[in-house]
């Protein structure tokens, strides 16, 4: 299934080449015009030859042609570029299976705003991955089914979104009505409105909409007990979360930072302490998804 949904992003020729490849542990496929196709697995890099076998020398790898990229654009957009213009402006499209296709090329700008991308020179397919039950430790610590306002903190690529998604899934499975404000489509990876990643059976997702607006809409329309949002930061995000907290819903959000001190410096102590009951600090890039410590909203560590 995973392999099929990824292969759907490629034209016939590349589908044949990549179809013969062993896909386990591949996180990214990078296709650049007139350059060898690169497959990334963690920190390792491979090339793939014309027979679909992994090779380590770039000169033996399959060189992508312009027509391969054109066909990829057709396949990724379901032959309907007009229907993904909004996503394309942000530089990526979420495809069936939750994978993300990001584009680089010449961007057309009109009145200071990005209109579209033309002459696409490289495409990066990031294969969606979810780690089920990675939130077990956190949920066990708080007690199953117990809801609190939580902020997950880690540097980039530290596993914040993966942890948030699994918390949403498990709390939803445990009976809570969950609303996800998925502005960038990273939590639920919706394709045509349907979450492609498992976010639980009692979860409603608003995707592609600014977080603050999505949170307000969720409160007014879906009456969630818990609201999840990724990478908060703007003033209006905090206002929307305050509104959520006052309306009786709990919020779980993520933010970039090394620890709670970083977050206080960035957003102000008062704001964080006012909204969040618990701050979950993750180890970061070297230990993805691992919890470093948990603090209360005032920054007092309650679990090491």
């Amino acid at each position: 299934m995973l392999k099929n949904t990824v292969l759907d992003c490629f034209g016939e020729k590349m589908r044949k080449i990549l179809g013969g490849y062993d896909w386990r542990n591949i996180n990214e496929i990078r296709v650049r015009a007139e350059r060898p196709v690169i497959l990334k697995s963690g920190n390792n890099e491979y090339f793939v030859n014309n027979d679909g076998q992994a090779v380590f020398e770039p000169q033996k790898g399959y060189i992508a042609e312009h027509s391969d990229l054109e066909q990829m654009v057709n396949m990724i957009s379901d032959y309907s570029l007009y229907s993904v213009q909004e996503q394309l402006r942000k530089g990526f499209i979420t495809v069936r299976g939750g994978h993300r296709a990001a584009f680089a090329g010449s961007y057309a700008v009109e009145n200071g705003q990005v209109c579209t991308v033309k002459n696409i020179g490289s495409i990066n397919i990031r294969i969606a991955g979810e780690i089920k039950n990675c939130a077990d430790d956190v949920l066990r610590f708080f007690g199953r089914g117990v809801l609190k306002n939580m902020l997950i903190i880690s540097p980039v690529c530290g596993g914040k979104t993966t942890l948030l998604r699994d918390m949403a899934r498990q709390l939803s499975e445990d009976g809570a009505t969950v609303g996800i404000a998925d502005e960038r489509g990273e939590i639920a990876a919706c394709y045509m409105g349907v979450p492609q990643l498992d976010v639980g059976i009692r979860t409603d997702v608003i995707d592609g909409c600014p977080k603050a607006d999505a949170i307000s809409m969720l409160i007014r329309t879906m009456s969630p007990e818990l609201i999840c949002a990724d990478e908060i930061g703007a003033e209006e995000d905090f206002s929307a979360m305050r509104e959520a907290a006052l309306s009786g819903a709990f919020v779980i959000c993520t933010a970039h930072g090394r620890d709670e001190e970083d977050i206080y410096k960035k957003f102000g102590y008062q704001r964080i302490a006012e909204i969040f009951d618990r701050l979950i600090v993750l180890e970061g890039r070297n230990n993805i998804g691992k919890i470093k410590h948990i603090a209360n909203g005032r920054g007092e560590k309650i679990c090491l």
Binding site: Q71, N74, M75, S77, D78, Y79, S80, L81, Y82, S83
Partner: protein
């Protein structure tokens, strides 16, 4: 004598049928073009208002249109859904050429539709709508031209068929 009469009957009716077919051919083409226009109007609203992907829009349109036009939309939609074509133009051309013998579209019509399909799917909704509008303009002009021609020629073809049949029968028998 009986065989002769049957032969004369067959010849007469064949000629009359040929005349009738020639008199109706333009009308059939005009009707098919109008059905295509209906399909394209639906496609225009699917692209402009609901931003549906092409395959989904085309399969929906196939249920709302009739005859060959419905088949063209359905098969193109299915080819795109199965990702069996490298572009929309390729899928559209294949579908029309598979039905070449069953449509009243002329070479000019199919060339116009193919040029339209080559642009279909790319760019933004505005360009797509302009592209559809240009084909609709072509259809309107052709349909009007055909109806005018049909009004003028239909009686001529029908009479020529019947009279030609009588003439052959008289000459041969």
């Amino acid at each position: 004598m009986l065989i002769k009469a049957i032969g004369a009957f067959i010849v007469f009716f064949s000629c009359a049928a040929c005349g009738l077919y020639l008199s109706l051919k333009d009308r059939f083409r005009a009707e098919e073009l109008k059905e295509m226009k209906r399909g394209l109007m639906l496609l225009k609203s699917s692209i402009g208002y609901s931003s549906k992907p092409l395959y989904e829009a085309m399969i929906d349109i196939s249920e709302k249109t009739e005859n060959t036009v419905s088949e063209i939309f359905e098969d193109t939609g299915r080819l795109l859904k199965a990702r069996k074509a490298s572009s929309v133009g390729e899928a559209w051309r294949k579908t029309i050429s598979d039905r070449r013998s069953r449509t009243y579209f002329t070479k000019n019509d199919t060339e116009m539709f193919s040029a339209f399909a080559d642009i279909l799917g790319g760019d933004d909704s505005k360009c797509q709508i302009e592209n559809i509008d240009s084909v609709i303009d072509y259809i309107d002009k052709k349909a009007e031209e055909l109806m005018r021609k049909n009004n003028k020629d239909a009686r001529l073809f029908r009479s020529a068929g019947v009279l030609g049949g009588i003439l052959i029968v008289v000459v041969l028998f």
